[in-house]
Symmetry: C2
Subunit: 187 residues, 2 copies
């Protein structure tokens, strides 16, 4: 049973690091020429605040690779533990054989700035355009610019999934603040 749709609010794209720097598993949605797909992705990093850049590995064997390379767009969606089984199922299946939105009961919603659909049940959506494909051939490494971002109004601390390999996920735990100790430039 998938998570319910939640009301979303816009997030400045320079703040995407709040959600991606902690290292969660994400669901990448894409579309091209009447075909759409979702893939599970764990290899990504923030690269810059402004422009808001994300680097990530999308292996050449994935159906999503072709859709994203051709459309030069995707959406990075942030699932929570409510979607654990979908995250695993999406990683286990190929978009060349099934429509993952339909198969997993996920809701495609229109994005603001790209043609790839959002996954409605996710906590956050980061709409991406390809910024630099120079390392795609050698490393399958894509550099995207986040051009729009939305997050659920609640909860403030979503339970995210962090993959450790071998089928085991670490779930995000408590938060601790050292804000008072940090230099302003270090925030």
């Amino acid at each position: 049973m998938a998570a319910k749709l939640k009301e979303k609010i816009d997030l400045p794209v320079s703040q995407v690091r709040r959600y991606l720097e902690p290292g969660p598993i994400v669901l990448v949605s894409s579309a091209h020429a009447g075909s759409r797909n979702i893939m599970t992705m764990g290899w990504h990093t923030v690269m810059e605040f402004t422009p808001s850049l994300i680097g990530c590995i999308i292996a050449g064997g994935n159906h999503s690779f072709d859709l994203i390379r051709a459309s030069r767009e995707c959406v990075i969606n942030l699932p929570t533990t409510a979607l654990t089984d979908e995250v695993v199922g999406i990683g286990n299946t190929s978009g060349a054989e099934i429509d993952k939105f339909a198969h997993f009961g996920l809701t495609p919603l229109p994005a603001q700035r790209v043609k790839a659909p959002l996954i409605g049940e996710c906590h956050a959506h980061f709409e991406c355009r390809l910024a630099d494909g120079a390392l795609v051939d050698q490393y399958n490494f894509f550099i995207f610019e986040v051009v729009a971002a939305q997050i659920a109004k609640s909860p403030k601390q979503p339970e995210t999934l962090h993959y450790t390999g071998d089928g085991v996920f670490m779930v995000s735990g408590k938060t601790i603040s050292r804000r008072s100790l940090l230099q302003p430039g270090m925030l």
Copy 2:
């Protein structure tokens, strides 16, 4: 008060993703021409199993940038919550002004394959050599090959720190397994 030194064991470098894919804050140690330093880093991603590749951002303004660019080596060390104050302090200070090992009471230990020192109090050490610097000028993005790896014998699930910006860290929580559901190729 720093964490104590722990007994370490070798880890196959192809398994580094178990520790870095979940997205922890790491401490990068480096050395060159009689100078050494430590920096706090949150922007990194696994890029390949074999060779074991890690991509990361090291901003040009950091003292570590010059040491790593010149030596073409570093060590990515994994701190736990026992080192929270050191992680913050290291991020707040510049190696151009202080010796961070001495200032924070951290123990430099010899590495196996690189000249940069390990940080003894950390849970794991990933010794890195620069594999590809093609994106350093444009993005401060370094691609390292992990050439040796060591982890503490215990605990199996270290409490790692995951930075969300604004001085707030998420601490790693419980683990959940879906191993029985995963296709072998998806592990």
